[in-house]
């Protein structure tokens, strides 16, 4: 058997996991990354990684419940076979990471300690201090370094992926990439290519993501013919620290420990917050949700904070949106003991001590649920078929997508501490799939026709040269990016309205045209960050357009996608009979809506119109039938009753049909 060679683009958790697995299977890997892989965005994950475990099992938990929580949290937009496989692998993933030396927090007896995260009743989350992502990444980075010394892995750090190389049949035969130091553009031939390039937070200007999370790598695959799935689904975290350069996460635990969210009743009150008397403060979460107060779920907290600033005009500051997150009523010693680490982040980056001054926070784009469409092969047990070449393969043959840049696993909304799991799982799981794919091919990396390679390389060199030479326009890529971020943040984050989305589509199309006419301030050919950024900005647009169009066409509320015009109303009647009738109607409408929108949106790039075309794909919900999420709805108990009766009727109908056949 000839030696296989695979190119992996991206060195976060997913990219490193697949790299080390492939190396173990004897495959040579060229690992390309914009940054030394140890610095990838995975380091920013704080909370932890989920799996059911010995302790939760004895409380009734199992892998199936992890699957259930994940698809319920995702509002049933997740294909269920990959999620099932992930949930069943989860305990094994954590055991492997433990063996690799991750310093997970320990119990007194020396077992891995667990904490509880949102969207579940069980303490499934293993964690390493407040830097779980960093610790997991370092363990994988070390294994890849070990494989590098052994000679099977070669790292290309500070290389920018430009596009997949495709032969005349459309099959992916390698990549074109650019050295960000010398600016050399060259081809990397391969039997298969894996993109593990993370999220696209920079579409929104500033987000909680690292500077390299532009989504441009996924967009370059998209423009080469790979499809996108669920591009409109992004997660917005309710509490982030606004900054001039980025929005830094402020953990939910600040509210968990008693933090109160408020704004002055008088808009932009110029007094210092502590001088504002209690009756002139509006504790809007406590007022609107007396039962849950400041601890409403993430999506609701996000929407309310957004609403109070955007629609009510009650932002703390006049020139920027923010609300107070106040811990000053809690004794300092208690804060230090329970929240020390996260308060230090605020203090370090804001220069203000949150023990004495309320923090100013605002929601921020945090995660991309959607991404490159990827395939899978379902096994008889409802999970995935191990080793099937199609697992995680995009619509371009031989091009795989894993981690945050794919669209599997998180549906319409991601649960906390599931992202690290999906990245490591998908990376480990597809190693054998890639080997099997490569073994079934006639021509490998050594037989890629030089004409195919030359054409791809020439095309990218031309793009580069023409940008350096000047497009004839005078647009500034940095300002274009800022403007894009403003438009996207206004129209497509927390609350979505069709008129605003349509306006944003027009605006973004115009910006796209302008982005093609950039003028660079650096025309040189050595470590030219200016031209690399200009290209990334240009490539943000196809993704941004798909996100906006997908959101425009999806006339419903599902998970993180919230359109008030299509929100299902609470039950209004007090009369039991009428209430029951309303609940029946509610369930009818819910089912009708699912028939229309319980589908993945699939975007295909149309180079002619310079716009995406959107179609829909059915979601495999064969394992756990979809059910309504009824949080905070008046009449929820009646709806639930009706729904359960219907589900039971359906189940017995199925049994009957099965026994008759």
């Amino acid at each position: 058997m000839a030696q296989h060679r695979v190119v992996v683009v991206g060195g976060g958790l997913a990219g490193l996991a697949v790299t080390m697995k492939l190396a173990e299977l004897g495959v040579s890997v060229d690992l390309l990354s914009l940054t030394p892989v140890k610095r990838s965005h995975s380091v920013c994950a704080q909370g932890g990684i989920n799996s059911c475990n010995d302790q939760t099992r004895q409380l009734g938990d199992d892998e199936w419940k992890h699957l259930d929580d994940t698809v319920y949290g995702g509002d049933f937009l997740n294909h269920q076979p990959p999620v099932k496989e992930m949930a069943y692998w989860a305990p094994k993933v954590i055991e492997l990471m433990d063996r690799l030396g991750v310093p997970f927090n320990r119990t007194g007896e020396g077992f891995i300690d667990r904490r509880r995260f949102g969207g579940t009743l069980y303490k499934r989350t293993a964690f390493a201090g407040a830097t779980t992502g960093q610790q997991l990444l370092y363990a994988l980075d070390e294994q890849v370094r070990r494989r590098e010394v052994e000679g099977l892995v070669k790292k290309y750090e500070f290389w920018d992926f430009l596009k997949p190389i495709q032969d005349e049949t459309g099959r992916c035969r390698g990549v074109v990439a650019q050295d960000m130091v010398s600016m050399e553009i060259r081809a990397f031939a391969a039997d298969a290519v894996v993109v593990a390039t993370g999220g696209n937070g920079l579409l929104f200007g500033k987000s909680t993501m690292s500077v390299f999370c532009t989504g441009s790598a996924a967009s370059r695959c998209f423009q080469s013919g790979a499809k996108l799935g669920n591009a409109e689904f992004i997660q917005v975290h309710p509490t982030a620290i606004p900054g001039a350069d980025k929005l830094r996460l402020m953990s939910e635990s600040a509210r968990g420990e008693g933090g109160r969210v408020w704004v002055p009743k008088k808009p932009h009150d110029s007094r210092a917050p502590r001088e504002i008397p209690n009756d002139e403060r509006y504790y809007f979460l406590e007022d609107r949700y007396p039962k849950y107060g400041n601890l409403v779920p993430r999506d609701i907290a996000t929407r309310e904070i957004f609403d109070i600033c955007v629609n009510e005009g009650l932002s703390v500051e006049s020139d920027r949106m923010s609300v107070y997150l106040d811990l000053t009523h809690i004794p300092k010693a208690e804060l230090d003991r329970k929240l020390g680490g996260i308060l230090e982040i605020y203090e370090k980056f804001q220069g203000v001590d949150p023990r004495f001054e309320p923090m100013k926070i605002f929601p921020a784009v945090h995660y991309s649920m959607g991404g490159l469409w990827a395939d899978y092969v379902k096994a008889a047990d409802g999970g995935l078929l191990p080793g099937a070449p199609k697992n995680q393969m995009t619509s371009i043959e031989g091009l795989y997508a894993i981690g945050e840049c794919d669209y599997h696993y998180h549906g319409a909304n991601r649960l906390g501490a599931n992202s690290l799991l999906s990245c490591i799982f998908s990376g480990l799981f597809i190693g054998p799939s890639i080997v099997n794919y490569a073994s079934n091919q006639n021509g490998g990396h050594a037989e890629v026709p030089s004409s195919v390679i030359d054409q791809s390389v020439t095309c990218e060199k031309q793009r580069h040269q023409s940008l350096l030479a000047g497009t004839g326009g005078d647009e500034n890529p940095y300002l274009i990016h800022q403007e894009l971020g403003d438009v996207m943040t206004r129209a497509a984050t927390v609350v979505r309205r069709n008129d605003q989305l349509q306006e944003a589509i027009d605006h973004v199309s115009e910006l796209h045209d302008r982005a093609m006419k950039v003028s660079l301030s650096d025309g040189g050919n050595w470590t030219n960050q200016n031209v690399l950024f200009a290209k990334a900005v240009q490539d943000m647009f196809p993704f941004a357009k798909s996100l906006l169009k997908g959101a425009l066409l999806r006339d419903e509320c599902r998970g993180a996608h919230y359109k008030p015009a299509f929100e299902k109303p609470s039950l209004t009647s007090e009369d039991p009979v009428e209430r029951r009738r309303q609940a029946e109607q509610w369930c009818d409408e819910f089912e009708a809506n699912n028939r229309r929108f319980l589908k993945s949106s699939i975007a295909t790039w149309n180079a002619e119109s310079n716009q995406p075309d959107i179609t829909y794909e059915d979601v495999d919900t064969s394992l756990i039938p979809p059910r309504p999420r009824l949080y905070g709805l008046v009449g929820a108990e009646v709806i639930e009753e009706v729904w359960k009766e219907r589900a039971a009727a359906k189940a017995s109908g199925k049994e009957l049909a099965a026994s008759n056949s």
């Binding site: 030394p36 140890k38 965005h41 920013c44 350069d245 980056f349």
Partner: protein
């Protein structure tokens, strides 16, 4: 409070930044001044972003943006190390208000001096990562198959290991170290890329390994499986450029942004290598 440090800075509309620039390896370095419009809550990253967007110096002359390296912007990735007002640190957590409080005239940005400059504030830290290879900073597991859980570990061990494991390879400890000297080689005529790479690595491998790598040895030698390579790691620290090179200046620990107890690791490594050397001598 509307702005973090009100008094002086409310009046401020602009401030000056002085950057030590260099167009490429082997080129002369030069100072360039930039006037930056003041905004509240700026850090050095946002200053450099403004310079990139404006691309003009204080004379209004069009210049190429300053090249620099950054990533997470929240001090966990280790990318954005540079020398700011004479002190090595991460530029993301270097707040403009605090810098101007210390020195109202200007903010001075320089690349690290212990690594070859690629361009402007970007340096080549390959030697830093090479040191992690040199000391085999990994756990040599048999496989990545499912083999059940690892060993139970006492909470105390985790609490000692976790701080060491937070090292983000930023290089602050190396910049501050008097024993860590810059190695900048250039490709010779007739030398292939591979030959040049080999010569470079050989030079790195015999020079001081640095506090960060010594600390990683102590971390991995404590791991239940990792300790199977303890002898090899200590060997690496006993060779040229090993732990005995340390002059005990203790600068490393004072500049570490993660407050890793580097000097404790160095002291332990010193003892461990001594014990290993004596053992070897007896086994001869």
């Amino acid at each position: 409070m509307i702005a973090p440090v009100p008094m002086k800075k409310n009046a401020r509309t602009q401030f000056r930044v002085r950057v030590l620039r260099q167009d490429g390896p082997g080129k002369e370095s030069y100072w360039e001044l930039f006037d930056i419009d003041y905004e509240r809550e700026m850090n050095v990253i946002s200053v450099l972003q403004k310079i990139a967007a404006k691309a003009a110096n204080s004379d209004g002359k069009k210049v190429a943006p300053v090249a620099w390296d950054c990533g997470c912007l929240e001090e966990v990735c280790g990318s954005c190390t540079m020398v700011i007002n004479g002190r090595v640190r991460q530029s993301c957590s270097a707040l403009v208000d605090q810098l101007l409080n210390d020195n109202p005239d200007e903010i001075v940005l320089e690349p690290m001096t212990k690594f070859p400059v690629i361009r402007d504030l970007m340096v080549d830290r390959q030697r830093l990562f090479r040191a992690l290879q040199r000391v085999k900073a990994w756990v040599p597991v048999d496989s990545y198959y499912n083999m059940g859980p690892g060993e139970r570990q006492p909470r105390d061990d985790q609490e000692q290991n976790y701080p060491l494991s937070q090292c983000m390879s930023c290089g602050c400890c190396l910049e501050a170290c008097p024993q860590y000297n810059k190695i900048e080689l250039t490709k010779e005529a007739g030398e292939t890329d591979e030959q040049f790479e080999e010569r470079k690595l050989a030079a790195y491998d015999t020079s001081f390994v640095g506090a960060h790598a010594i600390s990683q040895v102590m971390l991995h030698n404590r791991n239940p499986t990792g300790k199977s390579l303890a002898g090899e790691r200590l060997d690496a620290l006993m060779g040229p450029g090993g732990v005995s090179t340390c002059g005990n200046a203790q600068n490393c620990v004072s500049v570490c942004p993660k407050e890793i107890p580097l000097t404790t690791s160095i002291a332990r490594a010193g003892r461990a290598t001594t014990v290993a050397a004596i053992k070897k001598w007896f086994e001869k």
